[in-house]
């Protein structure tokens, strides 16, 4: 029996031999895997990494049938830019009438009856006092002008240079402009999947950091334009054309360092300009394939809201601060949309727990210098339950913390705030540490790691508080990069000689 037992027992030597064999095979396989990746990775194409389709975050496991970060609770009502906050405030009388809402235009009466919360906000913002008091905003412009001519000079040069790059949006209605310059021959793809694959690959080649496709929900199209633009008369109803079947959403990022040093040193114009550039190239390509296309971008103008299509296409989720936050870039991107009828396989929205994270986090709302971002729950806006940013307060923040564009050395140019973007915990670098945290918080169903991550975020970085962004402090969120610190390069400004 003892002999039988001995033959059935693996000896130490046999174990080591087997382990050595397995180890050798594993090392060989790992070496092949690593070396293949080294040859194939987009990271081996310096300068063109994202243009070779590099994606940081795999969205597939998080795809769902319907977006979960907003909820349709009633009849969807299309956005009417005539009732955007700036148009509304312009239409209000200098003093609030004693008769109340009944003294306003019938259109405004109807609007405020439907949106009583916005009436409260507009009365407060137009007639109230505090950080959103216009007199207060006016008084800080001199201080901001000083910043724009000195410490912020190079940041303004950068932002304005992006802004000076010109784009020409459509000047005719869709039935004309969408069909202009189409190729004589139309390309027929093997399948909708092949078309989507090609479009995404081409978008990457044109510089898109991400490109995804969704069916266009007509409810996201503006009801009309607020002024004569893009071939529409002001107030003329936009009939959604039948060929606006698909929305191709492309994005480009804003510079990470300048975004981090908002509100003083950043700009949205890098993201605006590059995403618009990519969108124009892609729209040209779709027309060259023989399909109609129309650009809706920050620099060409829009006929639609672009955040909802981005959410529908699975870029990210609708969040407390009103923008789409993606798991890989946070809110650090600007999106553009191309509408077309090129048949393509569509992408699904994602549920990566970002909106749930937003419910607990609230950091953006806490650091907002003008309290424009709600600390409370989502509200119903035009049939959609979602968080709603007070646009008027947000705009006041732009004027206060960064100064109106008129205070720049050129009398025009950039301004803005974006502190909410800088502060969002999802706006983090692509490295092992943040990718590990992203991986955990998007998969943890208990919410424990989300709470832990938010607590750490709030306590270890030592960021300025909301008050410190306001006059007279004007703190940036983070120290600006060396290359945007004016004193490092410029000794002074002199009058530019005229002519040769």
């Amino acid at each position: 029996m003892s002999e039988e037992k001995n033959t059935n027992t693996l000896s130490r030597r046999d174990f080591l031999k087997a382990a050595g064999l397995v180890g050798g095979i594993a090392a060989g396989a790992a070496t092949f895997g690593w070396s293949y990746h080294a040859g194939a990775t987009p990271l081996s194409k310096p300068g063109w990494e994202s243009r070779y389709g590099r994606e940081i975050f795999n969205r597939k496991p998080f795809e769902v049938e319907k977006p979960t970060s907003y909820e349709v609770v009633g009849e969807l009502e299309r956005y009417d830019p005539r009732y955007g906050y700036s148009s509304r405030l312009r239409s209000l009388p200098k003093e609030w009438p004693s008769e109340g809402v009944s003294a306003l235009d019938p259109d405004m009466q109807e609007f405020y009856e439907k949106n009583p919360t916005l009436l409260e906000w507009d009365k407060r913002n137009n007639y109230g006092t505090g950080v959103d008091d216009q007199e207060f905003i006016d008084t800080v412009q001199e201080q901001r002008a000083d910043f724009a001519h000195n410490d912020g000079y190079l940041a303004n040069v950068r932002g304005k240079s992006y802004g000076d790059f010109s784009f020409k949006g459509p000047s005719a209605p869709p039935e004309v402009s969408d069909w202009e310059s189409l190729a004589e021959k139309r390309a027929e793809f093997h399948s909708p999947e092949a078309a989507a694959d090609f479009v995404k690959r081409l978008a990457a080649d044109f510089g898109a950091v991400l490109c995804r496709v969704t069916k266009l929900n007509p409810a996201w199209v503006y009801k009309c334009q607020s002024r004569d633009s893009r071939g529409f008369k002001a107030g003329e109803t936009i009939d959604v054309p039948a060929w606006w079947e698909y929305a191709i959403v492309v994005t480009q990022n804003m510079n990470w360092d300048t975004l981090a040093s908002d509100p003083n040193y950043g700009t949205s114009y890098d993201g605006y300009t590059t995403s618009s550039f990519t969108a124009e190239l892609l729209a040209n390509a779709i027309k060259n394939l023989g399909y109609p296309a129309r650009i809706h971008s920050p620099r060409h103008g829009y006929d639609m809201l672009v955040v909802p299509p981005a959410v529908d296409a699975g870029f990210g989720e609708f969040t407390r601060a009103g923008f789409c936050v993606s798991p890989d870039y946070g809110g650090n991107f600007r999106q553009a949309v191309i509408t077309t009828n090129l048949p393509m396989a569509i992408d699904r929205p994602i549920d990566a727990g970002i909106a749930d994270f937003c419910k607990k986090c609230k950091i953006c709302a806490e650091v907002c210098p003008t309290n424009a971002i709600p600390l409370g729950d989502p509200m119903v806006v035009r049939g959609v339950k979602r968080w709603n940013v007070d646009g008027s307060r947000c705009s006041d923040g732009w004027s206060m913390v960064s100064g109106r564009s008129s205070v720049s050395p050129w009398g025009s140019g950039i301004h803005g705030c974006r502190v909410c973007l800088s502060a969002c915990p999802f706006v983090k670098s692509d490295n092992w540490l943040h990718n590990m945290v992203r991986g955990v918080v998007t998969k943890d169903p208990t919410g424990i790691t989300q709470s832990l991550a938010t607590t750490i975020e709030r306590n270890i970085y030592g960021r300025p508080s909301a008050e410190q962004f306001l006059p007279p402090h004007f703190e940036p969120f983070k120290t600006p990069p060396e290359w945007l610190q004016t004193d490092n390069f410029i000794k002074g400004l002199v009058n530019t000689p005229k002519g040769g």
Binding site: W34, S429, N431, W432, L433, I456, N459, I460, Y461, G462, K478, T479
Partner: protein, 103 residues
Amino acid sequence: MSVVATMIVGAGAVLAVLGISAYAQERGWILRWWHWALVSLWGLLAWFNIAWLGTMYGEGEVRAAWIGFSVVLFFVIIFGVGIYRLLSDSGKVEVSTGAALDE
């Protein structure tokens, strides 16, 4: 991590294991598998702490680098002392004669 850094970390980890093993033998400790598991976890925590410091410094987040490092270092020290005491209390053998090993 780059390939070279991975190789250095891997080689260092192997050397550390050999060193701990020799130290344990010298002291006559009998290390069970779960002792090694605890030591590995401690090593991972220490590695994470250094990697945190480097990454945060690299991102320019000096304050976060030192706060995080200090907090984790506290646990690294506490756990390190605890694990050392656990190992030193593990069954001891007579190393000088080797008699206990032969039994």
